[in-house]
């Protein structure tokens, strides 16, 4: 306030700057900030990704997290303030998980025909992924709570958070590990399938999609959908199957332990 007494010639730019800072302080404190920033960064990331033929390493989720995380850290905005806005997007994960019933229903004929095979594949792939992550981390001396948070890594993030909570892990870490597993799968799947000699037949697309959905849930499914509709549908199926099956066997195994 005392500054008002200073010469009126106070630089116009200075006033503009002060106004800008004030406006920024106001805007960055409203939930609008987190929500808009998330959508804006993602939309740009998606546009770049599509512009460059969906090169795996340009994955929009990966880069959105890097850009937003760096921006928060650089601008000194607490995560809680960001999340106050971003939670509106986060909230949609619940209805999105419910809506996975749709791919399951649409594929019910195949699901019935291959019920045993698909269930075993989801259980086997999910269990190998979960237990090898836990065992390796444990063996490398990672603290127990962190190692436990690795167990639901193949399950879609909202479900993984609930599961981690139930088995003595850390919900936020579980969500991050799930997202990272999704990204790793999306980035490496093509190479892995190529090395394994997977072709482009109907059954090969089914296996590729189903495997990607099993270990890399929604992010893998999004990736599979970009490559082939057949693969995408099976990835959606696997993601839903994994959400259901892992929710059953993980708590049971840990209880028994």
């Amino acid at each position: 306030m005392g500054r008002v007494a200073r010469p009126m010639l106070r630089l116009k730019a200075g006033v503009a700057m002060a106004e800008f800072v004030e406006l920024w302080t106001y805007l960055s404190a409203t939930p609008l900030f987190g929500l808009t920033a998330t959508l804006l960064v993602y939309v740009i990331g998606l546009a770049v990704y599509q512009r460059y033929d969906q090169t795996p390493w340009l994955n929009p989720v990966l880069w959105s997290i890097v850009v937003l995380g760096t921006a928060l850290w650089w601008l000194d905005i607490p995560y809680q303030r960001y999340f106050a806005g971003a939670q509106f997007i986060h909230f949609l994960l619940g209805p999105a998980v419910v809506s996975l019933a749709l791919p399951l229903w649409q594929r019910r004929a195949e699901l019935k025909r291959h019920a045993v095979a698909l269930t075993l594949a989801a259980l086997g792939g999910g269990a190998v992924s979960a237990l090898s992550a836990f065992a390796l981390a444990w063996w490398l001396g990672v603290p127990e709570a962190v190692a436990l948070s690795l167990i639901p890594k193949s399950v879609t993030a909202p479900v993984a958070m609930g599961l981690a909570d139930g088995i003595g892990g850390i919900a936020e870490l579980a969500a991050i590990f799930a997202v990272l597993s999704g990204l790793i799968g999306a980035l490496l799947a093509r190479t892995v399938f190529r090395v394994m000699g997977e072709g482009t037949s109907r059954l090969a697309w089914m296996r590729r999609g189903y495997a990607l959905g099993t270990v890399s849930h929604g992010i893998g499914a999004a990736r599979a959908l970009q490559v082939s509709h057949q693969a995408g549908a099976y990835a959606g199926l696997a993601l839903a199957a994994q959400a259901v099956l892992a929710s059953i066997w993980i708590p049971l195994l840990l209880d028994w332990w």
Binding site: V41, P60, V61, I65, L68, G69, L72, Y79, F83, A86, I89, H90, L92, G94, P95, A96, V97, V98, S99, L100, A101, L102, L104, W105, A117, L118, L120, A121, G124, G125, V128, A133, L136, A137, L140, L150, K153, L163, E172, L173, A175, I176, F177, A178, V179, S181, G185, M196, E198, S201, M206, A211, S216, A221, A222, L225, G236, S247, I248, P251
Partner: protein, 135 residues
Amino acid sequence: MSALIGFTLLLLYQVAGEAIARLFALELPGPVIGLMLLWPSLAIAWVRQHVSEVAGFLLSNLSLLFIPVGVGVILHLELLSTIWWQVSLALLVSTLLGLMTTVWLLRWLIRPSEDEAIGSGGAADAKAQGGRGHG
């Protein structure tokens, strides 16, 4: 309007799922129970039609929904910085093993000419591989 009804339906199923999880103290997450409740109801054309309107949008933008939680990694950078390579290695190796196991299992369990060409041979292989996958 249709999309709105669809979204309301999804939320109602989620609420029902959460309620059942609490009431029966189930370990299953509410949305997963909601999924299992919604699945049979999709046989009703009215439900299916309205749900498809929203489900298409939600599922095709699914990866966006992970970003808010993913950004939360900045809260745990200190903890993760001490064990980053162990965790990265565990994530990398387990994801590769999981992908390969799933593909192997499916190769053994579902043969190209599955309908009648393969009889007992396929089933025996399936059992062998299934056992290995779990072991």
